[in-house]
């Protein structure tokens, strides 16, 4: 997995609440069997009209936001479907940080599997950062220090330690768990005796 350490750049403001994963990447793009190539379809229905032409005033279609690696969005970002295509498309577009007041659980988890840092801030801080983003003020995201700096604002954020480490080191989660293979096997042996009906073959 890609590492994440720190990032500098302007942020794209998307002041809409409850942005669901259907909006991030609509169903017609879920037919792929690959993880890559989805960036062009990110926010498809907001970015393109019925004929597939760019909608010029959508933020990610306007310079300099079309180069943003940071997204500032309204409450409850990533709700709905579990599709990991949502973080895949964000990442493929170039987004590595999403800032909101809250994230849906599955989306939040999926971000960390893909080297994307979702940051939760207070509603007041979100308002400040949204304004800073609109004004094209440079953001400086520092994961080791857990700080967002933008203009006069310096905002600390929380992140669970294991998630932080995984991002900083780009760890392979499955590889780590496979190190516990003996424990998994022992668990299964124990349950085979105690709850044999669970081991009836499907």
């Amino acid at each position: 997995m890609d590492k994440f350490h720190s990032l500098k750049g302007i942020a794209a403001p998307l002041p809409i609440v409850n942005i669901d994963t259907d909006m991030i990447i609509p169903k017609q793009f879920l037919k792929t069997i690959k993880r890559t190539g989805l960036g062009v379809s990110l926010f498809y229905e907001m970015r393109y009209d019925n004929d597939g032409n760019l909608i010029k005033d959508f933020v990610l279609n306007t310079s300099p936001f079309d180069q943003s690696k940071i997204l500032v969005a309204g409450d409850n970002f990533g709700c709905g479907s579990s599709r990991e295509h949502a973080p895949w498309s964000l990442k493929d577009f170039g987004i590595r940080v999403v800032i909101s007041t809250s994230f849906a659980d599955i989306f939040y988890n999926n971000c960390f599997q893909n080297g994307i840092l979702p940051i939760v801030v207070s509603p007041e801080n979100l308002d400040q950062l949204m304004t800073a983003a609109k004004n094209q003020i440079e953001f400086n995201i520092d994961l080791p220090e857990q700080i967002i700096k933008a203009g006069n604002h310096s905002i600390n954020f929380e992140i669970e330690e294991f998630r932080k480490e995984r991002l900083l080191q780009g760890l392979d989660d499955i590889g780590i768990t496979l190190g516990y293979q003996d424990k998994i096997n022992a668990y299964e042996e124990d349950k085979k005796n105690k709850k044999p009906w669970l081991f009836k073959d499907t």
Partner: protein, 469 residues
């Protein structure tokens, strides 16, 4: 927490499945059953291949194609991408020795319908699937939640998931459900009350006499939409209704283990004095048949109500959000819900595509005709639901009324197959999401119960089942 301290149903399942703690402080939770479908699994199988990994316990996984499948002309999937995805699932499952119900198998259907139908879903289990509506299986007192594709790969490789415990929330609904109100209305009401982020970070346990009085089908509808309330999982205590449903199904415990299983299942309900991080109590008499007016499942109102006015919103953000929804939905503030004219009716999905739902619809539309301006389709949740309905003559009643009778699948709940709304079309839908573009670009979705959708099909407007004769 000591073993003696009172535990919730969630706490009990959680502690029974803890394999151990990793060095990074995270917990490894054992997964009893893994359900796999064609959309969220190809990249997981590809990942295994790229890192030369195998499936840890193939017999704990069941696969089915449901999202992409056509509901007519089953033999041929016309969309080449959909076809590749379904074929990829067949190939991957064969390669790894995973049981797969193919499109011609009568057991094929929506993954969350067939799990319970086959007896795969059982109390006390942990169940995951790369699909947010995995919460459905919580109706059996199983801890069931949706995961992303990277996690699908993790479960395939290790039969575990890295997880930290959720918070406990209990929503109790008490009292006899008023006439015309059923499980769909109940869950829509709950989502309206707590909001789509209300359950974030929590597992919701549904309790109280209204919930425990529901059939398994009704309980599944409730747990199914937990994700629309922000909770990854919903739970309902297993009881005799649960055991009766499971007994004798193909993958249920056999006679040799049945008593032992029931004894364990009976120990699962939350202890009386268990602690919850949040508690909500609802009197069912306050609930009406519910309908969504906007583009989030929390945008609900009584069928007797009106489309809200943005100016009544408490915050500027909420006002903007209502304005955006109303513009998308093509609705004016103050419009009576029952004055909203429909183009399409969709009955089906993992929320309401079970035999009980189809029976209700049939009883309402029997000897009637759908309005001339609407197109109505019924998509059974599985091949076996379809077969059962046909044995009961339900298909004849529905077809006589003007409904299209389709093959099983997810269909127009998300429109990955050809079943989609056209821009501007308005649909009464028994599914779970009214997001912008969900049922087709520009399509307008009103979520409601099968009863309301059936009545609305006949009148052509959103209709209150209580006024319907």
């Amino acid at each position: 927490m000591s073993n003696q301290s009172p535990k919730t149903l969630f706490d009990k399942i959680w502690s029974e499945h803890l394999v151990g703690q990793r060095e990074d402080g995270t917990n490894l939770l054992y997964i009893d059953r893994h359900l796999v479908h064609e959309v969220t699994s190809p990249q997981a199988f590809e990942g295994l291949k790229l890192s030369n990994r195998t499936v840890h316990r193939p017999e704990a996984t069941i696969a089915v194609a449901d999202h992409n499948v056509p509901t007519i002309n089953r033999q041929n999937i016309e969309d080449p991408q959909s076809k590749i995805q379904v074929e990829t699932l067949a190939k991957n499952t064969k390669e790894h020795g995973i049981q797969y119900f193919d499109l011609m198998d009568q057991r094929q259907g929506i993954v969350h319908i067939i799990g319970p139908e086959q007896g795969i879903t059982q109390p006390g289990m942990t169940i995951v699937c790369g699909d947010s509506h995995t919460s459905t299986h919580g109706a059996f007192g199983a801890l069931a939640f949706g995961i992303g594709t990277s996690e699908v790969e993790h479960v395939l490789a290790t039969q575990t998931i890295v997880q930290n415990p959720a918070k406990n929330m209990r929503i109790s609904v008490n009292g006899e459900l008023p006439f015309g109100v059923n499980s769909k209305d109940l869950i829509l009401y709950i989502i309206g009350k707590i909001g789509t982020a209300g359950g974030t970070g929590h597992v919701i346990e549904y309790a109280g006499s209204s919930i425990m009085g529901l059939s398994m089908e009704g309980r599944m509808t409730i747990c199914n939409m937990s994700i629309e309330a922000g909770a990854r999982a919903g739970l309902i205590s297993p009881d005799q209704t649960t055991f009766n449903y499971i007994k004798g199904r193909p993958y249920a415990p056999g006679t040799e283990h049945w008593d032992q299983a029931v004894e364990y299942w009976s120990s699962l309900p939350s202890d009386n004095d268990a602690n919850y991080d949040h508690e909500i109590v609802i009197d069912s008499s306050e609930i009406d048949p519910m309908v969504t007016w906007g583009t989030s499942p929390e945008d609900v109102v009584s069928v007797k109500g009106t489309v809200p006015n943005p100016s009544s919103a408490k915050t500027e953000n909420k006002k903007k959000s209502i304005e955006r929804s109303l513009e998308y939905m093509g609705l004016k503030p103050g419009t009576k819900i029952t004055d909203i004219k429909l183009d399409k009716i969709f009955i089906g999905s993992c929320t309401n595509g079970r035999i009980e739902d189809l029976r209700k619809v049939a009883s309402i539309v029997k000897d009637k005709k759908i309005a001339s301006h609407v197109q109505a389709m019924i998509v059974p949740g599985s091949g076996l639901v379809k077969k059962q309905a046909e044995e009961e003559g339900i298909d004849i009643i529905l077809k006589d009324a003007g409904f299209e009778w389709r093959e099983a699948g997810c269909s127009m709940c998300l429109g990955m197959n050809p079943d989609q709304l056209k821009p501007g079309e308005r649909c009464a839908s028994t599914s779970n999401r009214n997001f912008e573009g969900r049922q087709g670009r520009g399509g307008r979705t009103h979520l409601m119960s099968p009863e309301l959708a059936a009545a609305s099909a006949i009148t052509g407007n959103i209709s209150d089942i209580r006024d319907f004769t």
